[in-house]
């Protein structure tokens, strides 16, 4: 069978997506610049980068919506361009815009997509339950809130039980509560064994959801690893913050292991690679009021990789 023959095995794991030297130009602009990606089966993969970094174009190339100017793409071992109808039933795509048939209800919408993919209509009910739209089944899509529309759009991309799901900024423009609800749905999708590829410009989202994160900027993939490895790989210092006045700046600088101390907006901020002795010393001086300890985040990773602050 072509499908299994085409799949590359790396360390016993099947790579469901492989790209090599992917390039896409829009006139003068190189939106995607020699992108190499491999995504193992079952991974929750995040493509992280600021707006305009090339996330969506990369995703569209992999989905087979756009023709690459150069490079190779294999999804489930198959070429994606030109439109590969045998591959389409095995991938699910959720687009940035909520693309629905106008004036259909939630139920009718899902029913229509079930028909388009020739799957059992019992999937409609399952999808409604999965994304929690039971009470909206008779509501027309025009009357849904942003979060509900986003969940329906994910349900439509899952109706045919695809092996890979592509989600393009699924939580953009959602309020925090709706974002969290959606995260639960996305986790559930991945837990079922599906490969999920998601683009996002939210660092926290990538850190919380993804097994692997690819950081992309100016069309180039800067690095790919687990969020944990990316952060610890930085060897960055911990930041310890306490209320101002609990201890003097000079005194703080004298604590063993503290590399720097400074006053920032009414707080004293210390930086150290070894937080235990510093915290002990602060506790001994009864100076733990307003304590916050933060490690490095993906934002620091981005800063280190690009030399500039991350702005979504």
């Amino acid at each position: 069978m072509r499908l299994s023959a085409g799949r590359a095995k790396i360390g016993g794991m099947t790579n469901v997506i492989e790209t090599r030297g992917l390039v896409k130009n829009y006139g003068e602009l190189t939106a995607v610049d020699h992108v190499d990606l491999t995504v193992p089966e079952g991974t929750f993969f995040g493509l992280l980068g600021p707006n305009g970094a090339g996330k969506t174009t990369t995703l569209e190339l992999i989905e087979g919506i756009r023709q690459p100017d150069a490079g190779e793409i294999r999804v489930l071992g198959e070429p994606v361009w030109p439109r590969n109808r045998s591959l389409l039933p095995r991938i699910g795509v959720q687009l940035q815009a909520s693309a629905f048939f106008e004036r259909l209800t939630v139920e009718e919408q899902l029913r229509c997509f079930a028909d388009l993919y020739a799957v059992n209509t019992s999937r409609v009910e399952e999808m409604i339950r999965l994304v929690g739209l039971e009470e909206k089944r008779k509501t027309r899509t025009e009357d849904l809130s942003g979060g509900q529309a986003q969940r329906l759009s994910i349900a439509c991309s899952l109706i045919h039980d695809p092996a890979i799901v592509f989600l393009d900024e699924p939580t953009a423009a959602l309020d925090p509560q709706a974002r969290r609800n959606l995260w639960d749905v996305l986790r559930a999708i991945n837990d079922e064994g599906r490969t999920v590829v998601l683009t996002t410009h939210y660092m926290d989202e990538a850190e919380i959801l993804c097994d692997q994160v690819g950081i992309i900027d100016h069309g180039r993939i800067l690095t790919v690893d687990t969020p944990r490895n990316l952060i610890t790989g930085l060897g960055a210092a911990y930041r310890i913050v306490v209320s101002e006045g609990a201890i003097g700046v000079e005194e703080a600088r004298g604590i063993p292991g503290v590399e720097a101390a400074s006053l920032e907006e009414g707080s004293l901020s210390l930086s150290t690679h070894d937080p235990a002795p510093a915290l002990t010393a602060l506790a001994e001086r009864n100076a733990l009021q307003g304590l916050q300890v933060t490690g490095a985040t993906l934002e620091d990773v981005f800063l280190t990789l690009t030399g500039r602050e991350y702005r979504a």
């Binding site: 989905e63 919506i65 389409l88 991938i91 940035q96 693309a99 106008e102 004036r103 388009l116 020739a118």
Partner: protein
């Protein structure tokens, strides 16, 4: 087949649930039908108004059958004095005034309306000739017996209904193809359904089915209102209007697809569709019958798809021609459909 059914169903629901669609495609053209229907209700039997000043013996003493015919053509008002009668003729309230002095019959008319004046003059002189001949005891050698080639009861509605129906069908099919595809392209629904294992033919044919159903609803309502309200009489092979409408829907759907392909927004598509359909409707005799139009206009209409549809429908629906009369217009429409269809296929875009 399941894909086709799903797309047709979704498009049908999307269409019927928008009340605006029903207005533009059904209520709006129907308004014209009702308006024209009432406006021209008695136009076929229009009488001329005639003032009889004093006693005009040649009219008063017509034999009974001639008298009856005279009354079908003229509404006679009697005046004792010429002055008020002439004033009315001058103002155009009356078509003419007639008085008799001895053997001279004087007809007063206004040059402001030369056509009416000539008609009244001609009709009246025919009666006077008849009177002269009967007094002279001459038996006429020749007799003119005018007979309309159409059904004797032919009323303006017979011409209005097919023309307006043609316009409605053309409008429906064009807008139904232009607008949804632009909307779907901008909402990225086209991209989304293209990510499903759907064939382009399934998408286009499902849209065609919806447009055909809409066209037949239009036909049913138009004929219903025409027959029920205005006494429209359909002639023998009216059913040939059905294949004619199928061919026309193909043509106008292709035109709509082109309009949609070259437009960025649904508003622009609607504008382009209007710019194509409205002038075409005028040039094709949808609003004004082409029988009285100048020759060049009749020639132009032959080269317009709507002109062909209207001609075909008039021939089979009211002119009493056989089913064969629809074949040439159908062939021309299919030719148009093929050409526009090929252009539409070249221009069609899935993405902006």
């Amino acid at each position: 087949m399941r894909t086709f059914r799903a797309l047709a169903r979704a498009q049908w629901l999307g269409f019927v649930r928008d009340k605006q669609n029903w207005f533009w495609i059904l209520a709006f053209p129907l308004m014209f039908l009702v308006l024209f229907g009432f406006l021209f209700r008695d136009a076929g039997a229009s009488k001329n108004s005639l003032a009889e000043v004093g006693s005009v013996a040649v009219i008063d003493q017509l034999p009974p059958d001639a008298k009856a015919q005279f009354e079908r053509l003229f509404t006679v008002t009697r005046y004792a004095d010429p002055a008020p009668a002439l004033a009315k003729v001058r103002k155009g309230d009356l078509d003419a005034a007639v008085e008799q002095h001895g053997s001279a019959v004087v007809l007063h008319f206004s040059q402001a309306d030369a056509v009416t004046a000539a008609r009244v003059q001609g009709t009246l002189s025919a009666f006077i000739d008849g009177a002269n001949m009967s007094i002279a005891g001459v038996k006429p050698t020749f007799e003119l017996r005018p007979e309309a080639v159409e059904d004797q009861s032919l009323k303006p509605i017979q011409f209005i209904a097919p023309g307006l129906l043609g316009w409605a069908v053309a409008m429906g099919a064009t807008f139904n193809a232009a607008m949804p595809f632009v909307t779907w392209r901008t909402s990225k629904l086209l991209r989304r359904i293209r990510l499903a294992p759907m064939r382009t033919e399934e998408l286009i044919s499902s849209r065609l089915l919806v447009s055909l159903v809409v066209a037949f609803v239009q036909m049913g309502v138009f004929l219903g209102v025409g027959v029920g309200l205005f006494g429209l009489k359909l002639t023998g092979s009216w059913f040939m209007a059905i294949p004619l409408i199928v061919c026309a829907t193909l043509t106008f759907m292709a035109i709509g697809l082109i309009a949609g392909a070259i437009s960025k927004t649904a508003e622009a598509a609607s504008g382009i569709a209007n710019v194509i359909i409205l002038p075409m409707a005028f040039l094709s005799g949808s609003f004004i019958p082409l029988d009285q139009a100048p020759g060049w206009l009749q020639t132009i209409s032959k080269f317009l798809p709507l002109g062909q549809l209207n001609k075909g429908m008039l021939d089979v629906m009211v002119r009493g021609q056989g089913p064969g009369a629809a074949l040439v217009p159908m062939a021309v429409l299919l030719g148009f459909a093929l050409v526009f269809g090929l252009i539409a296929a070249r221009l069609f875009r899935w993405e902006d």
